[in-house]
Symmetry: C2
Subunit: 521 residues, 2 copies
């Protein structure tokens, strides 16, 4: 068994700060025993900590002391007090009622006949048995220091054990995070419970900057992925801009050595990844000096941070790919009859409406995937109908209107919520609030909110764009259409959002006029 | 501090099995001291374990004993042997060279003047100091039992500490698993390192059975998700079929109480999930009786198992959704000119070819997403060309052939490997092995393996299917085409696979003739 870190001496020079004390409970019904004990141990120190005495004059008082203090290192325990076995009762109480297995119990009896050594040492979970006569000052000194050593050994391991339990629970929380938002908050919160609160923190990585996170051909620069405190404002900035001087050197050292770097004011922890090149966790303003054990715990935690991060990245990568596929396919379908950016603009407009309407993050994400597929049914419409100059005749219009049902039929039998949502949007995005739409003439809130949102974005962008059969309408004229169709073709509350946010709509309308579809968000 | 489980008495009746011993090292240069010590402690037991003596007659021998035994509980250590401080050197060696902080060191000196008590107890990390004269048989008994108690307390916490370290590393491994394959192997392997090997194991859950794992409207029955040993063959079977009698009752109890159920022969651990209804981990054939501490560790581990499982499910769900979207869109595009199951069959045929060819799992997954999009460029071809009866004229054929470049252009500027692969397949799936294909006249291995595979599946399924302009060809005639085009139109090694596996191809060809596209794998 090698657990050197547990018992490592902290090599830094000693600070003049308070080191704490060892609590010794003296239990005896004779006051002079208290006095003599304190005198004998008056100049005692062990590992630079002095003793602090707590006194009890009966078994009952001793029990109360154990309730009041959960950090008693040693109890010097008389046996015969208010009853012949009052001290033994205390030992029993400490171990079996309070379940305290850490305090070292030294029985100290004046009447060995009352509590025969062999029986007592066998039957009570005590750690030493002394008759008062054998306890010279020297022997008392020896027994206290030897016993404190055992106590220290137990506490050292126990504290590490508790630290590990915290890491397990911290990691469970960390691995339950599925989005990059909240990732740094999760880390900082868990670190606080391990080490105490931090002032500033940053998670610095080379992954995730581009659309594809793990791009071996183009390794990315390290940058501040997310931060707290003074690093909150530096998100997205390259490492060498965000961190400077000695701290930057510490970051480079941590990366080069794949290790932790500890300074007085801050630390940089290298987080080893299984799939990526690793990241850095920077923290400053730690509330206390870290021990060797703290550092060991931090190392374990850093490893899990990186695995959790890699997991979140993986999920994000798949989700982003999925979104890009849907948008590209939606655009490809649109290319028959528009400039091909219609889908991109529609998605952004729908997100704007959905967020202002108050849909949840999950719903917005689902809507983003459903919108691009709204016209999938048009794949079944002969292209000559789309490209026809002038208006459609009745039978052509009927064929055209069938695209809604066609689209629904292509998607409806899926069991996946996203595809089911897309099926409904495909079917219902031409329904009208007043019931005059197609294919089913649904009314008001019987039309799913996704479809009501999609309907507005679809019409807005079509009117504001130049298509093969029409010029782009001026903004005023488009807004007039929505004003006049408020509560008729369109959901009035969504129209209100559109009118209120028309600047933002225009911004989206302009955004994808020229540029390539790079910005697939 | 309440860590009751650490010191819990195991309540089961005592088994008559071997309990092990406490190792006591006697170090003394006088053989009679060894004899007397053994005699005084001859009937000693502590917690049903006897003492086992190891003897050394010099400091040098003592050091060797510590190298040979890493589980010495107590050393009774003489001071003056080959040198005046030989014993003190041993103490120093144990703590500072071997970094052994667990063995309790009791110094036992015949010449207290050589090693003054106060100096020695202060300067050496020893746990007691006795002069041989004060060590009566009773005192020896007391000191050994009291010291063993400290040793036991330390070892109990230390073992738990080590168990927790194992859990942390086990969990890190578990959270690095991203596929459901290998999940039970991962669990069983980690459990073996925690508790020792198991014979049979099963992971029983209600999630993941259907295409959408977390379907609140249709909670699924519990079933054996994956198993080892006798449960390997029961994968996919409902709980109440796979497990019967008393074991089934134990499973139901674990579910109802959301707790662990321990029996002599097996255990059932409830795994609490954050998002799902939880699962069960069943194990039998554990190599030893579990202690309260084992059970506590198992509980911590079970929680992480479930979080890891939920993570894997989430990833799988997104991936499956993505695959379904691509297949449905590919089918929707195909519906212009075929029975709409062409894509489904092509994907399965491509997987068959890819696996036989030796592509990696990652490549096969990528191919599955790329194949459905191979004809996306046809969206830009007027539908009258598709639906034309008879053969195309030259200009129509040229427009038709443009679909390859069109498809490439729709996808090529993506940065995502999957979409880039799909772009290449869209462009190159009409290239010929001998360079006579289009659009670029690529040759041999200059054509990406994905495109060579897609080309074969595309042609095979088209020939074997009834399309609007042709009947399905008989199998023999289709195979003849491939035989004659081996090394001309098609990659010869892929043709060899096709000819060898033609039964499997036919099976796929038949599979999606009637059924609905439910089986989107």
């Amino acid at each position: 068994m090698s657990d050197d870190f547990l018992f490592a001496e902290d090599t830094e020079e000693e600070l003049p700060e308070e080191k704490g004390t060892w609590k010794v409970l003296i239990v005896d019904d004779e006051p002079e025993v208290h006095a003599v004990t304190k005198l004998a141990l008056s100049d005692f120190t062990f590992q630079d900590k002095r003793l602090e005495f707590v006194c009890a004059y009966s078994g009952a008082e001793a029990k109360q002391c154990f309730k009041d203090h959960d950090d008693i290192a040693i109890v010097l325990l008389d046996v015969v007090m208010e009853t012949d076995d009052a001290g033994l009762q205390v030992a029993e109480y400490v171990r079996n009622t309070l379940h305290n297995h850490f305090t070292r119990i030294i029985l100290r009896t004046g009447q060995p006949g009352q509590a025969p050594e062999r029986d007592v040492i066998l039957n009570y979970d005590i750690n030493d048995y002394k008759s008062k006569t054998e306890l010279t000052a020297q022997k008392l000194f020896t027994v206290v220091i030897a016993t404190l050593r055992s106590y220290r050994d137990i506490i050292v391991i126990e504290e590490n054990r508790q630290g590990l339990e915290k890491i397990i629970s911290a990691s469970a929380d960390l691995f339950s995070i599925h989005s990059l938002e909240g990732f740094i908050e999760g880390i900082v919160q868990q670190l606080s419970s391990l080490l105490g609160g931090t002032k500033d923190a940053a998670y610095i990585t080379s992954a995730v900057a581009g659309p594809h996170p793990i791009d071996e051909e183009n390794p990315r620069e390290f940058f501040v992925f997310t931060g707290k405190g003074e690093y909150a404002e530096l998100e997205g900035r390259p490492l060498q801009e965000a961190v400077t001087g000695e701290k930057l050197a510490a970051c480079h050292r941590a990366l080069a050595e794949r290790s932790q770097v500890y300074e007085d004011e801050y630390l940089v922890a290298y987080c080893q990844g299984k799939s990526t090149h690793g990241s850095l966790l920077y923290m400053s303003g730690l509330p206390r000096k870290l021990t060797a054990m703290d550092k060991h715990l931090l190392e374990l935690f850093s490893q899990n941070v990186q695995i959790a991060f890699d997991n979140v990245l993986l999920t994000k990568d798949i989700e982003d790919t999925q979104r890009e596929i849907v948008v590209r396919l939606g655009q490809a379908m649109e290319k028959h009859f528009s400039d091909g950016k219609h889908i991109q603009r529609m998605v952004d407009m729908c997100v704007l409406l959905a967020e202002a309407y108050g849909l949840s993050r999950e719903q917005v994400e689902m809507l983003k995937l459903a919108v691009p597929l709204h016209d999938i049914g048009k794949l079944k419409i002969p292209s000559k109908i789309f490209t026809k100059a002038g208006s459609l005749d009745d039978s052509e219009r009927e064929v055209m209107q069938n695209h809604a049902e066609f689209g629904y039929n292509l998607l409806k039998d899926s069991k996946r919520p996203i595809i089911k949502a897309a099926a409904k949007v495909a079917r219902d995005h031409h329904e009208h609030w007043d019931g005059n739409g197609y294919p089913r003439g649904l009314k008001g809130e019987d039309i799913h909110i996704f479809s009501r949102i999609t309907a507005i974005a679809d019409v807005y962008d079509a009117l504001r764009s130049k298509l093969h059969h029409k010029e782009a309408w001026p903004l005023d004229k488009v807004l007039d259409v929505f004003r006049s169709q408020r509560g008729k073709q369109f959901d009035p509350s969504l129209v209100d959002i559109l009118l209120r946010e028309s600047d933002a709509f225009e911004e989206i309308q302009q955004r994808y006029q020229e540029c390539e579809p790079a910005a697939l968000k």
